[in-house]
Symmetry: D2
Subunit: 267 residues, 4 copies
């Protein structure tokens, strides 16, 4: 439990009648027209403007996380919108609630693994192969899967990963962590004897380490990006809905399988 | 209630083992590295790439909506995070739930008012002054305030508004709707006899009309942008919390005002 | 926008080291063991203990609202739980977010209609037939359906309605409002020429009027009751899940209908 | 990740035109008028009717969890309602989102601890003192606090605990788990050298073990109960709001501490 404090403080920003300041920048004159939405997200999480190179890489990361088709999250948002179309914000909220350990968890898991394996990336003489070996062995010993590797659909390669690594490399964000996760992949594939592509969340986890973002924040990038994707789904649901049909089919099937007719049919 | 449909469909995108498509574009090769986060939001709401000019204006709109200091929404998110720090996504969701008619409602209200006043913006010979007159008179007759005008803090000018209109003008998005809301402001100020600045939500509502976005979508821009801002608040809450202090103060004050001592003090 | 106030106050309750008071009652000695969960809900909404008769009727109302099978709300909760099983509270929250105008709206709509039609129920000489006529005519003139009538599945009778009216009658809660909604039903059926059963939300709306609950509160009964039902769904999802299958089927169908194969098949 | 399944099934219930069944009981004739809201919650979590004694104990448990004054959860709900009064369900959802590990976590933690310490409660000859010793020692060795003990306000006794244990004892639900947590308390107090009262969540955790509820469900009781309490808070917020004042005070204080005046005052 936190301690009491005398004063409430926040460094995020403030407003006076004629000024609005966000993280030390004047919103109208220094942000609007100068920074895109990804840059604004960077400002609020890194607490400074991105360089042009950082802007390119960071925008690529969050753009990757915006949209994944008809996910459980998108379905939950659409089913919610059906019941409360007057409260679009609540439908987005419902969709976000499911971004927990099962889906976005692998992104923060990958970043955490890499930071714990390599706390001091700057020292150039780390034995990355040895570290990769130990990391994979440790996960195996604990009976855990290595986060950020493998994908049920995208194999043998997740098409987002080489592109993200390329953008990172072209913009000075491909260092020891990107190197390390690739070595971890090789060891993990050897040990498991099957392809284990670095998936998008693994690639993003590694690049977040290159930026130095704490692993505890990484889930936040997924959450903010997915909010954008969910708005897209709700706009489509508004004009071309699927939620009602999903509901009716499900109800009918369960009535068939568990309703009175089903029970009487059982011997 | 919607009708049944034989097939579930969605035009948002699809994935195969080696491809990911979003609104007809190949995510790795055509989106990543080419589009920033605001462009991606545009793609998912307008269903096409923005032009460079549109990208500048649209990014300015959504960037404006990201952060507003310690709003009720930010407070709700921080109080939620205090109880469930393991579920950052749920704290963002809690913060979004309050983006209803009171705060973001004025943005969609402004867009709706403008579309209803001027359904056909292309015809250059509309009598905008006459339309402004009638619009202000209609709201007054219904006892409603004109949406998008006035601000409790930012007066006589909301500093975001002239900057947004400047960016719109420099990029070909300052047409009849931006013109009309300014005439509406003049009429409303005459009628009320006090300054009624076009606030940021009014400016954004007008510019959204220039883009042709349906007014029902406009709230979605506020929701997606605020998700980014809320993540920023939760990161600060993680290292420099205010929620616990807020809670303790409130509980103490209510105990003082309504607890057993208060009751016995009453005559 | 509300006004500032000097003191924060709340009459709900307070705690001291050795006492906990809720709405003026001592929780350990006056509530625990003496009041059931529905009585506690009554205490917090009516601000007094229910009589035994009120307890019976009020519990019947909220019990009716707990569970409705695989609703969109239950599906949203289950899909959310799949992604974040560590945050059961967020899955319940997601399920509640959709309890808006489409589903629970008819309950508050029925109560509002009845209060507006009969603001003074005590005067025994109201012309209920005349009021019913005018009410039905007014809704028809506005092109609106009468709230609380009709059900897609339960016809010609919603089996909950006669039972709720029976419980209300046996416990002194069947007065002018229950009478009025039945007369409204008769007029509406005559006008439409088809059976329009009073559905459960209509019956509950009318009984809430007998209690004198403001119509704006009525949605709250649906929300609290459904929270219980959603916990039941999530416990089943934990051991016998359906969300994953729902997701996979939907994704596959949309890939078939909108994926690359579908596009190339079109002439 | 779960496996695919051919058929969607649910044992919760089903509806036909003239029948509604919940967990095998006919809703109108077997539930309405016969079961109170707590009994309905029991039916949906234990999958059978409670006995009269079980009804008394279970209702006492959930009633205890309904209301805790101005908690962070209640504050979040009220702040949300202020922005979206048209979506009461979303305000309740926001309040629920924070019921995570920090607050309701101790309830499931206590139940989990007791089940792990005593997997077979039926065998009467367990050495409960030895088990209590080992349990307290294990938590101390891991540097963890014992869940369910201690309270920041209610000391030396949480007034809910003796009453809950009394109700449990009078109704045949005070067995080995209630015994064990009391022995754990004694050992923990000896080790820590200060009073560590069994708090309400500890008492409830132990009684849930007497019922045999899986510890993973226990949080659900807190969530469903709090939904009722939150509706009570929102009804008060509707007529006697505090959220606006909370917001204004906070914003003013942060402007004073972090705004432009504060910065220029620093040397």
């Amino acid at each position: 439990m936190p301690k009491r404090k005398d004063d409430l403080t926040s460094d995020i920003g403030w407003s006076t009648p004629d000024r609005i300041s966000v993280r030390g920048l004047d919103l109208p004159s220094e942000i609007l027209g100068h920074m895109n939405l990804g840059d604004m997200a960077f400002l609020l999480t890194a607490h400074r403007r991105p360089t042009p190179e950082e802007s390119t890489v960071f925008n690529a990361i969050v753009v990757t996380l915006v949209e994944h088709g008809i996910t459980p999250s998108a379905m939950a948002a659409r089913l919610t919108y059906m019941g409360a179309p007057e409260a679009l914000q609540a439908a987005v909220a419902a969709g976000l609630c499911g971004l927990g350990t099962v889906f976005v968890g692998s992104m923060e898991g990958a970043a955490k693994m890499l930071y714990e394996a390599l706390p001091e990336p700057a020292s150039g003489d780390a034995d990355l192969d040895g570290i990769a070996d130990r990391t994979v062995a440790d996960f195996a010993a604990r009976g855990q899967i290595v986060p950020g590797l493998g994908h049920p659909l995208h194999k043998p390669v997740d098409p987002r990963t080489p592109r993200l690594f390329q953008i990172a490399a072209e913009n000075g964000k491909s260092g020891a962590y990107v190197d390390l996760i690739q070595r971890i992949q090789v060891r993990a594939e050897e040990r498991r004897g099957k392809p284990l592509p670095i998936n998008a969340t693994g690639a993003i986890g590694a690049i977040c380490c290159e930026f130095g973002f704490p692993w505890q924040i990484v889930r936040g990038f997924g959450v903010m990006a997915r909010a954008i994707g969910l708005v897209g789904h709700l706009l489509e649901e508004r004009t071309d809905p699927i939620a009602f049909e999903l509901w009716q089919r499900t109800e009918e099937e369960i009535l068939k399988n568990n309703g009175p007719a089903a029970k009487s049919a059982k011997p």
